[in-house]
Symmetry: C2
């Protein structure tokens, strides 16, 4: 073989190695995409299941409270409802839910004015009353607080 | 330029093109991996948020029921608790939760025997009573039903 021929073959070989790497990388990329989509769905299902499982004992307590209601055990019913309320509040707090503060002035970013009412005591623009509590998750408003504002 | 030189340069150029594609594909793959991980976390957060949002009206109803309790409006309290129970049950059903059947014989795959009790009427191995309801999500047992079995 001539020297040039040898060199040409070496170049050819190197090119084949690179082509091969390219093909394998493309195939790997493709597999990765498929796996990522599958994993995303599995993660969502798992995340939901964790939350749903945490709700089962709350459903149990509700059913016990209803049994107490059927038996006309009013004190037990009320205690049961308090327990359910506490559990649900704790669960939501663990999920990053925070109640929106309504103690100060009306804030259009987190409050929704349902009514304006004249007030002798409160300053204009103060929140007088809360019709429905508002909530944030991780800083983002998921439901504004529905409030009555002083004129 | 000699003919060989021209050919060599063409080969060299082609190799550079392939090298370039390889580098770009590797960079693209890397970006994709980062985006997929980010998206997976976002999907989980979104899925949770959807569930958490569905729980807020249930928390509202619970708070209304507690207000009725404070006002000693027993009928209103009981009606409120029934409403909360119905809403939570519906939410769980929408998430694919199914109650485990306990009407037949004891089934170790879905039941957990807490007690065995003699019975004149029931056949041996029949479920006599349910201490805690069991649930499935999408066919999978997330909590077995805790039952009392006939000896």
């Amino acid at each position: 073989m001539t020297e040039e021929r040898v060199e040409q073959e070496a170049v050819q070989e190197e090119q084949e190695v690179v082509d091969d790497r390219l093909l394998r990388l493309a195939a790997e990329f493709d597999n990765y995409k498929k796996r990522a989509a599958r994993e995303r769905n599995e993660y969502v299902a798992l995340a939901n299941e964790r939350l749903v499982q945490a709700l089962l004992p709350i459903l149990d307590d509700l059913e016990r409270a209803l049994q107490a209601a059927s038996a006309h055990e009013e004190a037990k019913l009320e205690e049961g409802v308090r327990l359910v309320h506490r559990s649900l509040e704790q669960l939501l707090r663990r999920e990053g839910v925070e109640e929106i503060d309504t103690s100060g002035a009306f804030d259009p970013h987190v409050h929704e004015a349902m009514l304006a009412r004249a007030s002798d005591e409160a300053e204009s623009g103060a929140v007088l009353d809360v019709m429905q509590k508002g909530y944030r998750i991780g800083g983002r408003v998921v439901r504004p607080a529905r409030v009555i504002v002083a004129e």
